[in-house]
């Protein structure tokens, strides 16, 4: 037993150096005066006050939350039927479908997002196709729609894979049992299949929402300069403006918001599960 524990030491060191320490540093930077060193510093909450008193920042925070929620909702609405349909296919087709869904991930996300600029731009393929249907002069690129398209496109596979995994884990005789007890296919879905796939839905939501709320290059590329999200603000503070303390403070605020939201989702799941049982 002792030997096994000793084997864990390198991982513990790695973990604390690479994960814990940077996080503590960010918290530290967020609560000290600008220009302070680790050896000589004085505490201040100025960075936090600045964030919460500036309506521009609050507006961007709200916009980020709203884009992330819309992305998650769209991914769920599009992803669930896809995952359900795949899970009903034969084993061989399923493997092929999963491969097709993960295939785009082999190409760098940045490249794929650049491709969308071309697709969405004025005179690009999408505006041409819309033109055939008599829809002209629609501006998609550099709008919220473009950002949502980019986000859903990039994060949908995470949702599909999670839900698919939970659906295929389900014993197929449960579906037969429901049907045997008189449930129509629709009733079987809502009373048996969907409740049992909720854990997959929850992890799908988590895997889409977290990267969506902190995304910065998708809004930068597809939203243009005028469509800032909170990730872009943080990037700006660190790289362009060089205000590490303020950037750290926004990062900490974001981390707290994410923790809070995920906590709520998990509680809703547990409560839902209990209600379903009661």
């Amino acid at each position: 037993m002792k030997t096994w524990r000793r084997l864990a030491i390198p991982y513990l060191i790695w973990g604390s150096c690479m994960l814990l320490l940077p996080m503590l540093l960010i918290v530290f930077y967020s609560i000290v005066q600008p220009g302070n060193e680790v050896t000589t510093f004085s505490f201040t909450l100025n960075s936090y006050v600045r964030f919460f008193t500036d309506p521009n920042f609050l507006m961007i925070l709200w916009r980020s939350l709203s884009v992330a929620l819309k992305t998650t909702a769209l991914c769920l609405l599009i992803g669930y039927p896809i995952a359900y349909w795949i899970s009903r296919c034969s084993k061989k087709t399923q493997n092929l479908m999963i491969l097709l869904i993960t295939l785009p991930m082999w190409i760098n996300m940045l490249v794929r997002t650049y491709a969308w600029i071309g697709l969405l731009s004025e005179g690009g393929p999408i505006s041409i196709v819309l033109g055939w249907f008599g829809i002209h002069n629609v501006e998609i690129l550099y709008t919220e729609t473009a950002v949502l398209i980019g986000m859903v496109y990039n994060y949908l596979p995470f949702m599909v894979l999670q839900i698919h995994a939970s659906l295929t884990k389900m014993d197929p005789s449960l579906v037969e049992a429901a049907s045997d007890l008189g449930a129509s296919p629709f009733q079987t879905f809502w009373r048996v299949i969907f409740p049992l796939s909720v854990p997959g839905v929850i992890s799908g939501i988590t895997l889409v929402f977290l990267p969506a709320i902190s995304a910065f290059f998708i809004p930068k590329l597809l939203g243009g300069g005028g469509w800032f999200l909170i990730g872009n603000v943080i990037e700006n503070q660190f790289i362009t403006v060089g205000e590490w303390n303020f950037g750290s403070a926004i990062s900490v605020i974001m981390a707290l918001i994410m923790m809070l939201l995920m906590g709520l989702v998990r509680r809703a799941d547990r409560k839902g599960a209990k209600e379903a049982k009661a």
């Binding site: 014993d171 005789s173 449960l174 037969e176 049992a177 429901a178 049907s179 045997d180 007890l181 008189g182 449930a183 129509s184 009733q187 009373r191 048996v192 409740p195 049992l196 599960a273 379903a276 049982k277």
Partner: protein, 528 residues
């Protein structure tokens, strides 16, 4: 008594999966309030038939009627029958109460009626007070009961049970057998039960349907099937039996094992080949020459309520060979730490065709080793003047460093012992061994068979091997150089007997049975 009403009719049901025929045209009627068991080994099509009735599979051909209505086009949720699944298939996201209430909720029954009915079901299955339990908190037997209640609460006319007791341990399985029978009698509906367990079938059923390879073999009450099996397959599947090949002499007289026996069976052609079944419990053990057959008790097993005895009434086909025990030195040469050993051996002139070096090494059991390092050395060279005709030849095995040993090969025309009547042939060779090899053997009987190259086979089919027993008189621990007879036997005619009287192994006994204990059946292409 009222004539029972037919509830379910299968007409010429055929089904295949991937070109494999599972059901070959099943015709079966099932009555109201009957406990029917579909019995057969796995792969006989019993579950497929049940799933066709449940609506989970579509037959390729044929019709299924419930109460006179063809139902093949109805999906499962429109069929008025319910299923207890093999692994229960209880909904893990619901507790016991909600699982049982599921069917009623679908039918939009009002809450107070649901509660009444669920509570009545919980009483029926003996799980009152368990309604709030999670499924995962239940034992296998309790889950089983909930699955039954969940099906029965819908008040179906027919309950389908797909090997529902398979996952339970023996004691629980027995309990559930009584429980299921009780529930069936109490609710008074048709149960169709699928199992491969003959005891389950006998205990619970009103009617047993025995299936084999997609065909029905026999339909009847447990007593009918047990006492009057239609063929050897059924006799073997239901209960234990002694099945013997026989010939019908004329009505009420059957001949087997070269004796005529009175029986009660009629209607066979004189001279027709038949199978004869005698149940182990129908045979009484009496004194030697007091019964119809005499035999030697081969083995006695204590089975709790009774002894299971194997009595051999006729010895098997046998062959006796000579085992030559040679002195140690003659079989071994050494050169310092290197040793080589080998034995002289016999070969059948018929086996000479295509014989290879490795066969000769194996037959001579030639080995070389280093006693310092305990290392096995290879036989590098074999030299012999062996020819393809009867005679005596010499053979020399050589190992690393040139150490060699020379032995003789006797090529003979080996006599085979044939018993045409029993369709058996046995053969074995004389062999040479040293005292040490006998004493070092960990499984002497097996080694003797290998050394003598003893073989038994069916005369009609040389590829079908018959296992052999071996007997000898010598004491392996005290064996000295010399010649010893060793005999190899096939099994003779052995009767299994269930009796409460204890008899020593090896005792001579008589076997007694009456004409009614002999069941004559039509021959079926089946050998046990």
């Amino acid at each position: 008594m009222e004539k029972p009403k037919t509830l379910i009719q299968f007409r010429n049901i055929q089904k295949s999966f991937d070109d494999q025929i599972i059901l070959k045209g099943i015709d079966l009627d099932i009555n109201e309030n009957e406990f029917v068991t579909l019995l057969g080994p796995s792969g006989c099509g019993k579950t497929t038939l049940l799933r066709i009735l449940g609506g989970f599979l579509q037959q390729d051909e044929g019709e299924v009627y419930i109460a006179g209505k063809e139902i093949s086009s109805l999906p499962p949720y429109k069929r008025e029958l319910n299923t207890v699944f093999q692994k229960y298939a209880l909904f893990p996201n619901m507790n016991v109460y909600e699982n049982i209430a599921f069917g009623l909720r679908i039918k939009k029954v009002s809450n107070d009626i649901i509660e009444q009915k669920v509570m009545r079901m919980l009483r029926l299955i003996g799980l009152e007070g368990y309604e709030k339990r999670e499924i995962t908190q239940l034992s296998g037997g309790q889950q089983q009961r909930v699955a039954i209640a969940r099906a029965l609460v819908n008040e179906p006319n027919v309950l389908l049970l797909d090997e529902p007791l398979g996952a339970l341990d023996l004691k629980l399985r027995k309990e559930m057998q009584y429980e299921l029978k009780r529930i069936q009698q109490e609710v008074g509906i048709t149960f169709i039960f699928v199992t491969h367990d003959q005891e389950e079938a006998l205990t619970m059923s009103d009617k047993i349907v025995i299936m084999k390879e997609g065909e029905i073999q026999q339909i009847g009450s447990p007593v009918e099937i047990y006492n009057e099996p239609v063929n050897a397959y059924v006799a073997n599947f239901i209960g234990e039996s002694n099945i013997l090949p026989g010939v019908m002499v004329h009505d009420e007289l059957v001949r087997f094992d070269e004796q005529d026996f009175e029986c009660v069976d009629k209607g066979y052609k004189p001279g027709e080949r038949v199978d004869v079944v005698i149940r182990p419990e129908d045979i009484d053990i009496v004194g030697p020459n007091e019964g119809k057959l005499n035999g030697t008790v081969e083995s006695v097993l204590f089975k709790g309520m009774l002894y299971e005895m194997m009595v051999e009434t006729k010895p098997g086909t046998h062959v006796t060979v000579n085992m030559h025990i040679t002195s140690e030195d003659a079989n071994q040469n050494d050169d310092g730490h290197i040793h080589i050993s080998g034995n002289s051996f016999y070969l059948d002139v018929e086996d000479m065709e295509g014989i290879e070096e490795k066969d000769l090494i194996a037959r001579a059991d030639a080995q070389a080793w280093n006693d310092e390092t305990d290392e096995q050395l290879s036989i590098e060279h074999v030299e012999t003047d062996l020819e393809n005709k009867i005679g005596t030849y010499s053979i020399t095995f050589t190992t690393v460093g040139g150490l060699s040993i020379t032995k003789t090969i006797q090529v003979i025309d080996q006599q085979i012992v044939r018993d045409e009547k029993r369709n058996e042939g046995v053969s074995a060779f004389n062999f040479f061994k040293s005292k040490d090899e006998i004493q070092e053997s960990v499984a002497l009987d097996t080694d003797l068979k290998t050394w003598a190259n003893a073989q038994g086979w069916r005369l009609s089919n040389e590829d079908e091997a018959i296992p052999l027993d071996v007997t000898y008189e010598f004491d392996p621990d005290k064996i000295a150089p010399g010649v010893y007879p060793v005999t190899f036997w096939t099994k003779g005619r052995v009767f299994k007997v269930h009796t409460t009287d204890f008899v020593e192994e090896g005792a001579r006994v008589g076997l007694q049975f009456g004409p009614a204990d002999i069941h004559v059946m039509e021959k079926e292409g089946y050998t046990s």
